[in-house]
């Protein structure tokens, strides 16, 4: 247990403190979201209709792309090999890494998401729901994205490869979260999407550590 706590704190410190930390992910998120009004035009009614959805997609992309160094950093320094020889199984290590990533990057993104959504024209209540969806969906993004990052370890093609292999898998959470946000904004029942999103996030937490551990073993072999 102490080993797990120590590992979690190490991961948190690495993700939070090194090389800009959450600044990169949040900056990319804001910059990507800014591009939409610039490309679409400033007409409020047009932006308002897509505010929640655009925020949600930009959030998924920012979460995915900031995952690139999650395993790569430790793989390059040999720390991953050392960790794999320690008392914790690779499944637990991978889960701890994703959880730390969620806390260090997902949480700041979830805080930034309502601001971005409201600036694009969503109501404050919708913005709050976007924040909630970002918090829950961030778990799915972190664990599925972590799987992509672990699989791409041996490939060295960086973030685009991770995004390409993970985005199709992200279809369900993007739909569930997007539907909850869109329905809430339209005054329709939205709890269904949120429950499905939560269920999906829990399923990724339960299943993806095995895939990540397998991918790490493969890269280390």
């Amino acid at each position: 247990m102490t080993a797990l706590v120590a590992l979690f704190r190490r991961e948190l410190a690495l993700t939070w403190g090194r090389g800009g930390g959450p600044l990169l992910a949040v900056g990319f998120f804001v910059a990507a979201a800014l591009m939409f009004p610039l490309a679409i035009g400033a007409a409020p009614q047009r932006l308002q209709a897509v505010a929640g959805g655009v925020t949600w997609v930009a959030l998924a992309l920012a979460s995915l792309l900031s995952l690139e160094p999650l395993f790569e950093r430790d793989f390059d320094t040999g720390a991953l090999e050392i960790l794999s020889l320690g008392p914790l199984s690779l499944e637990v290590i991978a889960a701890a890494k994703c959880a730390a990533q969620w806390l260090a990057t997902g949480a700041p993104l979830a805080l930034a998401a309502p601001v971005v959504a409201v600036s694009l024209g969503a109501t404050v209540a919708t913005g709050a729901l976007v924040g909630l969806a970002a918090t829950i969906g961030g778990i799915a993004f972190a664990f599925l994205g972590g799987t992509g990052a672990a699989l791409a370890l041996a490939g060295r093609r960086g973030g685009v490869l991770i995004a390409l292999i993970v985005l199709p898998l992200l279809t369900p959470p993007v739909i569930f979260g997007g539907a909850a946000i869109a329905n809430f904004a339209a005054g329709l029942p939205w709890a269904g999407g949120m429950i499905l999103l939560s269920a999906y996030a829990l399923a990724t937490v339960a299943l993806t550590p095995f895939a990540m551990a397998g991918a790490c073993r493969n890269a280390l072999s």
Binding site: T147, L151, A152, L153, A154, G155, R156, R157, L161, L164, I165, V166, L167, P168, L169, T171, P172, I175, F176, A179, N183, L196, Y200, L207, T208, A211, G214, A215, N218, A219, S221
Partner: protein, 241 residues
Amino acid sequence: MMISTLANPHKFMAFSRWATPVLGILGAALIGGGLWLGLAAPPDYQQGETVRIMFVHVPAAWVSMLAYACLGGASFVSLVFRHALADAAAKAVAPIGATFTGMALVTGSLWGRPMWGAWWVWGDARLVSVLVLLLLFLGYMALRASIDDEAKAARAAEILALAGLINLPVVKFSVNWWNTLHQGESIMRTGGPTLAPVYLTPLLLVGAGYSLSFGALWLMRTRGEVWRRRAASLTLQAALT
């Protein structure tokens, strides 16, 4: 029994040598017969002549699902039993599946144009599912292509294929669910068991023909992969001795 026999590469090569042309010829005959029947069928009272595109579109969508199931199955066998032939089969099936998926998308778009007045309608859950399937195939191929070490590429791609296979029912469910949310936005369902026999017969014939052709293509590409690997290992042996 069949599987354990085929698991032996020599027996597989002997079997596939005659099975490939037989499946190919049978498949081509079924497709030809089915299309002939389909072209002879009367135009639909609703869809007019356009209904005929269905005979190439729907079977392609079926086979694309079949191909991903085969990819997932071969990957599972390769992952659990560490069988080289299964990996060769998985590698071989991905581009075929992507091609059938692309065909389903293009023909679906051609069919949608006169029906919906638009090349693409997001309200059609099946088309959207097929598009996600194409991206799953592309991701598999991209991951495999980006890893130089063949053994590592195989293992990573297997894990991805299995993750995709587990995810696929959830994708189908979520796209359908998403679609019902936006009900009433021009959803046009492709036939089903209620289809008139005059359309159902050619559809099933072409579907069977596509499946057999898919089998033939798969065997052919797997054979090619086995040959390629043999040649590579022979070159390596020659270089070492």
